[in-house]
């Protein structure tokens, strides 16, 4: 996982969801890379 502090994976089906609506400053770079790398293009940063 590219941004393990910012997303959590469901134990049962493996779906990822954000830990917080707001991304802390020190995780911004990782989250941007996660969005860039997501094969489903499912991560949107506002």
């Amino acid at each position: 996982m590219i941004a393990p502090e910012s997303f959590e994976l469901d134990d049962v089906d493996g779906h990822a969801s954000p830990v917080n609506e707001d991304v802390p400053g020190d995780q911004e770079e990782q989250v941007a890379e996660a969005a860039h790398s997501c094969p489903e293009q499912a991560i949107v940063i506002e």
């Binding site: 994976l9 049962v12 493996g14 890379e33 860039h36 790398s37 997501c38 094969p39 489903e40």
Partner: protein
Amino acid sequence: VSIEDGVTTDGDRKKNTYHFDRHTPEYRLQFEKITEEMQSKCPMAWTDTYDGHWVAADSRHVFELARCPVVSNHHDITGETPFKGITIPKASRATVVRGGILEMDEPEHSSYRGALNPYLSPAAIKRWEPFVDEITRAALDEHIASGRIDFVEHLANVVPAVFTLAMMGIELKKWNVYSEPTHASVYTPEHSPEREKINEQHREMGIDLITNMMEIRESPRPGLVNALLQLRIDGEPAPDMEILGNLGLIIGGGFDTTTALTAHALEWLGEHPDERERLSRERATLLHPATEEFLRFFTPAPGDGRTFADDVEVEGQQFKKYERLWLSWAMANRDPSVFDKPNEIMLDRKGNRHFSFGIGVHRCVGSNVARTVFKSMLTAVLDRMPDYVCDPEGAVHYDTIGVIQGMRNLPATFTPSEPLGPGLDETIDKLQRICNEQELARPITERKEPAVID
């Protein structure tokens, strides 16, 4: 509407034609050239091969079509409707079962997938890491003192097979009954003289699978077989044929693909010893991106077929009901609009949104199995055979890459060392006992603890 009108309209729809035959050796040899040509001239092309079908060759079309609800995976094995599942062309031997969830549409697909997920999620697979590492160790220990190994036969064919059977709840020592026909049926041409022997082995495997299913129905034991037997859809058990189709998919998906990925990665690292040394040294940061990069570049499962369930327009192209489509994960993975220098392997590649596990609801259910097994084998080789040299004369790639981009052999030599533990047979007996005692094949909903290897 006159016939001429129809022809004109069709000709207009299919004006971007390309002779595309991925089952020929030429397609493998000229893969990069063909990919560049299609992406620059006709990323959405019509080909007359195999009764005619569409080919999506770039990331944009592959992405949109893979997620389009009108694009169907369904396979009607009665032949009454022209839904032909994920293979192009349809297999010549009689198809008796659908290919599990990969040949189902919603809502059926999600009912079955929901039963498999708690066995295959990242958390579920993480519990198995000590188990996987132990099979890997034993496979290497069989050969470590000799200084010679065939990475395909002795490692990459073994670990995925043993682990897949463990998750299914099938006896581990049967791994070769399943492994041999699964690999051989992919790389052996339909008309080759070896085919009859492979078909016979395939029948033997099918009989063992049915025997296991009946045994587990009588006296349940944990694993994916049991998951499918316990599944209820609208209160009814799943038909036996659908259970078998899904078990066949788990075997086909679990065995040959990870083998192919591992063999290609080890071959490439053998040819690039500096990169191998760097990967080993910087594995804390490089192992994850390198795994995704090997997945992208070598795309073990190069694509999937689909059938249009209705007329639809996607990205400006009109498609007609019952037309067939090939989604090329392998070519989308070389799209320069998504991947900088797409024909180069960059172990630390960023933004690697590769297509190797597919896209959309049918995204590979075993992706975490593949990653875990691959990383176990790769790191063990880097640790225990760091100076290996592959023998290019003995390396055998599949002649064609229409189904799996795989390898049959990858012999290598290395500085011998002492085994760390017992060999494969003894280890498999021990792991069987551990599987039974700790009930490792239970789903994550019933068992959270990692496997303990004593």
